[in-house]
C-alpha cells in the first residue's frame, strides 16, 4: 500500500506574459493588462492556444459575412497541415469578437502552433481554400437562417441596441448566404487584415508555459492595446418580429457594465432559467436557456424561452420578477443551493477542454478583465444580490405570431 501523501496534484499556474499595451499619458488609469496569458499545467497532454480579435461590427451593408468568410478561408488553407499534425482549429464569431482556437497534442505542438499563427497573421490562402470555406459556411447558414432561433438572436440585439447602429451590430456576425456568394479572393485577402497581430489578444495552456509564451510574445507586438468595439445600449428597448410560427421565441436581456461580476451574473441567468424551464409547473414552456453576450463596455445577460404565443408575456414578466426579487430580497436559499449546485457542474463542463478555457481567458484579456485558470464559482448570497443590483433595465424581444406581441408591451 502506497503512502497517500507522497503524490500531490500540482495546481495550474497562470503566467501573464508581457506585451502590455502602451498606456495613454492623458488618462493613466490602472496599467493595461498584458496581451498574452499562459496557463502551465504539467500534466496536460495537449497544448491549446486562443487568439481574439475585434469582431464583425465594421461590416457595412452588402459586406455581411466577409469577416467570417475570411476567417474560415484562413483556417481551410492550413487545415491539411494541421490534420497531418493531428491538430484542430476553429473560429467562433460574435459581433464584438472573433475567437480562433487551436488544440494540438503535446508532441510536436510547436509545429502546430507555428502553422496556426502563420495561418492567421501571415495568411496566403488560395482559391480552393476559399471555395471550401464558402461551401461549409453556406451549408450551415442556410440551415441557420430558416430557424426562428436565428431570428430571435437578431431581434434581441435590436431591442438592446436600437435601430440606428450599423448593420454590423444588428446583423448576423456569421454572415448571410446572399452576400457570401459575392465575395472573391481579393475581397477575402483584404478581410484577412482584420486578423493582424496588432489587433490580437492571446492565451495558451501547455505543460511548459515558458516556450509557448515566448512564441506568442514574438508574434504579438507591444503597441497600443486593441479595443473591442462597444455599441450604444437602449434602455428597456422592445422588438417584435412577426413570424407565422406555432410557438413564440422570447428573450429578456439585462445589460451590465465593464465592472460587472460576470460569474455571479451567469448564476443569476441559471436562476432565471430554472424559474421558467419546462416542467409540470410550466406546461407552456418548451425550452429555456441563458447566455452572456459581451462587448467593449460590458455586455448583457440574455434569458431565452420558447413558449406558447399566449404565454410569452407572462414568461417575460416572470423572468423580470426573478431579477427584481433577487435585488430586493436576494435569491431564496433553497433555490440558490439547488441551482448553484447544478450550475457549478455545467459551468465546469463548459470549460472542460483546454481550448475552451484559453478562449475564455483570451476574451477576458481583450475585454480588460484579469483572466483566471478556472473561474471562481463560490458565489455567496451577497455577491449574487450585488450582481443583480448592477444589472440595467431589461430589453425584451419576441418572434412569433400576433398573440405573442403582448410580451413587448411597455
Amino acid at each position: 500500500m502506497r503512502a497517500a501523501s507522497t503524490i500531490v496534484a500540482v495546481a495550474p499556474a497562470l503566467l501573464l506574459v508581457g506585451c502590455g499595451g502602451a498606456a495613454d499619458p492623458r488618462d493613466p488609469g490602472p496599467a493595461p493588462l498584458p496581451r498574452v496569458a499562459v496557463v502551465e499545467e504539467p500534466q496536460a497532454t495537449a497544448v491549446a492556444v486562443a487568439v481574439v480579435v475585434p469582431g464583425s461590427t465594421w461590416e457595412l451593408p452588402g459586406t455581411e459575412g466577409l469577416t467570417i468568410l475570411s476567417a474560415m478561408t484562413a483556417l481551410e488553407a492550413i487545415r491539411p497541415a494541421l490534420d497531418s499534425l493531428a491538430a484542430r482549429a476553429r473560429v467562433d464569431c460574435t459581433p464584438a469578437a472573433f475567437t480562433f482556437t487551436l488544440a494540438a497534442a503535446r508532441d510536436g505542438w510547436q509545429a502546430a502552433v507555428d502553422v496556426f499563427l502563420d495561418g492567421l497573421f501571415r495568411p496566403a490562402p488560395g482559391p480552393e481554400a476559399l471555395e471550401r470555406a464558402r461551401s461549409r459556411l453556406m451549408e450551415s447558414l442556410t440551415l441557420d437562417q430558416a430557424s426562428p432561433a436565428w431570428q430571435a438572436r437578431l431581434a434581441v440585439r435590436h431591442a438592446l441596441h436600437g435601430d440606428t447602429l450599423t448593420s454590423g451590430w444588428l446583423g448576423p456576425a456569421c454572415g448571410v448566404p446572399e452576400t457570401l456568394s459575392l465575395f472573391d479572393l481579393a475581397d477575402v485577402r483584404a478581410g484577412l487584415h482584420r486578423f493582424a497581430p496588432r489587433l490580437a489578444h492571446a492565451a495558451a495552456l501547455a505543460p511548459e508555459g515558458a516556450a509557448v509564451g515566448s512564441l506568442l510574445r514574438q508574434r504579438i507586438q507591444a503597441d497600443r492595446t486593441p479595443v473591442i468595439p462597444a455599441p450604444r445600449t437602449v434602455a428597456a428597448g422592445r422588438r417584435y418580429v412577426e413570424r407565422n410560427t406555432v410557438t413564440a421565441w422570447l428573450a429578456v436581456a439585462f445589460p451590465f457594465g465593464l465592472d460587472a461580476d460576470v460569474e455571479a451574473i451567469r448564476l443569476l441567468g441559471a436562476v432565471a432559467e430554472d424559474a421558467i424551464a419546462p416542467g409540470v409547473d410550466h406546461p407552456e414552456s418548451f425550452t429555456a436557456d441563458h447566455e452572456i453576450v459581451h462587448h467593449g463596455r460590458g455586455g448583457a445577460l440574455v434569458v431565452r424561452a420558447v413558449t406558447t404565443p399566449a404565454a410569452a408575456a407572462d414568461y417575460a414578466d416572470r423572468i423580470e420578477a426573478v431579477m427584481a426579487r433577487a435585488v430586493r430580497n436576494g435569491v431564496p436559499e433553497s433555490v440558490h443551493q439547488r441551482v448553484g449546485r447544478r450550475h457549478r457542474g455545467l459551468r465546469l463542463q463548459a470549460l472542460a477542454t483546454p481550448e475552451s478555457r484559453v478562449a475564455a481567458m483570451a476574451l477576458d484579456l481583450a475585454l480588460g478583465r484579469p483572466p483566471t485558470a478556472w473561474p471562481d464559482l463560490s458565489i455567496p448570497a451577497e455577491r449574487l444580490r450585488a450582481a443583480a443590483a448592477a444589472l440595467g433595465p431589461p430589453a425584451r424581444s419576441v418572434v412569433g405570431p400576433g398573440a405573442a406581441r403582448r410580451a413587448i408591451r411597455p
Partner: protein, 401 residues
Amino acid sequence: MAMIPLLLAAALIPQSSLATYPLQPHGGPEVRVHRQATPLVALRLSTPVPVTLPEGAVELLQELARPDAEAEARRFGARVSLRHDLGRAVMTVTGPATAFDAMAAILRRAAGTPDLSVADLRRARARAEGRVLARLEQPAPRVRRYLHYGLHGGPEPRGAGGTRLGPEAIRRVGAELYRPGRVRVVLVGDVPDVVIRSAFGDWPTAREGNRAEPRFDTAAAAARPQADREWGGIAFPVEGDPAVLAVAAALVQQRVERSALRYGSVEAWYEPAPALVLVGAATPGDSVVEASAGISDLAVRDASAVPLTDVRRYLRRLIAEAAALAGTDVVTRARTAVRRRLLLEARTAAGKAEVIGRVADHCGPAVRADDYLERLEGVQLADVRALLRRLLETAAVVDES
C-alpha cells in the same frame, strides 16, 4: 514581464501526464487513480461482456439504470454515459469534484440490483430494443457486429432477444457482469485516497442461487437490415503486440482514405482477442470496385468456400497495397498519428479516463497508458510489414450485408 507566482503543493512528486496508481478498496473493485489538480473529476467503469450473453442483455441493464443515473447527474451538472462497445460495457460520470461522492454513488447504483417495477422494465425494454435494432439494421454497425460474431461466436445476433430477459435472469446477469473482480474503475481528479476507498468499498456482490444460463426470447423483434448499396467487411484474427496492431490499422486506414471507396473504415479490435477489421461500401457499378474484380491478390489464401464480393476483394487489396507500399516514413507518420490522437483525446479529464481505461482494457492491467505511448514510438517498419503479411496468409472472417 508581469508574472503571478507559481502555485506549488507542499510535498511534490512529479507525475507523468497519464501515470496512475492502484487503490484496492476493501470488498470493492480496483480503482486506478490519476491524480490531477482539476475541479472536474472523471470516473470510468468498464467490464468485459461474455460472448454468450444474448443480444440486448447489456443494453437492457444499462437502460434500467439510465433514468436514475441521469436524474442524479443533472442535480450536480454532471454527465453520464452508458454504452456497449463490442466486448465491453462502459459507464462514465464526469462532474465537479465537490460532487464526487454522488458521482461514485451513481456508478454503484448502476452496477447494483436494478429496479424492476413493471413500468420501468417495460420502458427499459423498449429503449434497449431500439438501440439493438439500430445497430443491427444500419449497414456499417451490422457488418461490424456480424464480424464480431464470426470471430468470437455466441448466439447469432438476429434480433433483440436479450431485451426480453426475465427479472431473475436480469439480476443474475447484472450481478455477474459487475462483480468486483471483473470491473475496472479509472478515476481522474484530485480526490483523497481515503474518500475513494470509502466510495468504492463493499461493492454489491452476486446472490447465491440458480446459476443456470439466462434464457432469452427468440421471438423478440428481429432486425430488418436496410442498405442502398453493397456493404462488406473482413476481419483477421491477429497475434502480437497491441501497439503494432494499432499502427498497422492506422496505416491501412491511410490507404483506405486515399482510395476511391467512399465509405471505408479500419479498426483494431482487442477483446476478447485481437483482430484487424475493415468495413466498406460501394454502389453497384462503382468503377473502382469493378476494376478490382478478378484481380488476383498478393499472396492471398482464403479457406472459406464463400466467394468474396467485390467490396471485400477491394478491401483485401487495400491491405496488400498497404503492406507493399509501407516504408519507414509511412510507418513513422502512422505511429505518430496514433500517439497524437490519444494525447488529444486525453486533454480533458473524461478523455484521460477513457484513454487510461481503454489501454488497460485492451492491453491488460500490467500495461499502463504512458507505457503504451512509449511502445507506439518503438513500432518499426518490419513489425508492421510482418503483421500485414501474416494477415494476407490468414483465413479471414468475412461478412456481407
